[in-house]
Amino acid sequence: MTDIALTADTTFRPGTSDAEIEAAAAKAARNRRRTVLFWRWVILFVLLGGWEAGARLGIIDEFFFSRPSAIWERLVDWVVNGTSEGPLWLHLWVTMEEALVGFALGSVTGIVVGIALGRNRMLSDIFSIYIKLINSVPRVVLAPIFIMIFGLGLASKVALAFVMVFFVVFANAFQGVREADRNLMANAQILGAKGWQLTRSVVIPSAMSWIFASLHVSFGFAIIGAIVGEFVGSRHGIGLLINIAKGTFDAAGMYAAIVVIMIVALAAEYLMTLVENRLATWRPAPLHDTQ
């Protein structure tokens, strides 16, 4: 049910059939996709090629910046033989577990508290000051405290990921509830919605786009929480790999770890977009008539 994409600058001669117009539009769309893809690859090759050449010619200091081929070899080595600290998958899994558990707990709590305070003026007036207060603490300074309280294992990283995620999701859920259309609320109430029905059928759906926007960024925050926690103290995880690489002045190892994290974060972002599109079929599709 999308509109036919027609380039705005095309005029068809009189008597052009629908089929011809559709074919032309499909062709234009294909060409466009190809151009975009082409330039994306060109930019990637220029950047990586420049880096590699610069490193080999001595313009870029390999000691600090490594080079793409060395990073690639390190990645292959990690995947095939494992790292010096054990299999790569173990570290990746540990970091993911910390981030995912922290993300799940943080976002669920954020949504619930955000909606509860958003729906209740009195509660929000009372608690807003405390939330501002805690929110003003830079999250990473909590890492040593959590490690002291929860130890070197999973719990301390989950706690850090949780506080990173919670406030973002909370703030958005709260705002989303506050922005719920008063007309829709009144309509639902007059149609017969009471208490929880009203929350479920109007408040939550209208807050949903706000909440999703926050989930997008906050998964990245959960990974940050997990990795910072691992820097400060851990026995496993990608953060530990980066820490060890730093200790041995192993630039390739550090960049390889970063690449692993990048891939994970991109995959998560992709999944999230997929879920969101499934849930938001009701939203108008963006119009395609200007190219």
């Binding site: 009144a186 639902a188 149609l191 017969g192 919605a193 059928s201 938001a280 009701w282 939203r283 108008p284």
Partner: protein, 274 residues
Amino acid sequence: MPAIEASASPAVELINVSRRFLTPDGKSMTAIRDFNMSVARGEFVAVVGPTGCGKSTTLNLVTGLARPSSGEVRLFGGPVDGIDPRIGFAFQTDALFPWRSVIDNVVAGPLFRGKPREEAYAKAREWLARVHLSGHESKYPHQLSGGMRKRVSLAQTFINEPQILLMDEPFSALDVQTRVIMHDVLLGLWSEAKASVIFVTHDLEEAIALADKVYVLTAGPATVKSVYPVALPRPRVVAEIRYQEDFIALSRTIWDDLRDEVERGAARDEAVAA
């Protein structure tokens, strides 16, 4: 209260109702004052008045979404206590749930009120057929034209079989042709349902074409300035009625009355803006 008296009492009664608001700087502002109105069962009442005079505020008092500062609102002889299930409301702006399909919008009321799903959906399909929207069940509101959305809204409201129907400038956002079609749809539905209607509008011709009685309000604070009975025979065809002699005569009489208030309202708005 004796049963006989209750069954004879009007559908809606506003008795000396006033409503004040607190402005942002803490002052009290009167939106409606000493407002008296009585709508008989099955009667179609139209309310016209200058913008901002307090029409929407008045309707909100009848729904129970807001309470009067003084005076009393009665429905079928009883006091208003919370949102009354016998009331249906048609909004000026789009109040369909954008995340629900057409059929899920229409079925909302019965489901909120605890009807079984099967029954509710069967009834919703029936109502969609009545407003000529069969085949559009699974579309979302943004995929419909303004007139179609309005018909979904009407189905959504009528499916609850309200005994009192409040309409707040429901067709003002539609183009003229669509509006005339909607008038006929509304009159058709109303003549079957026999609900009591309060129809707020700023369009005097619309008011006369639809209603049994036209209330003219003063510029804010709103009170009833005058009431005009409309003796045009029913069933009416809205597209043609506006060319009849007595329609034109009546609309001239009421407009003379209304114009003073519109001018007074505009003058007041300018004074506030200055």
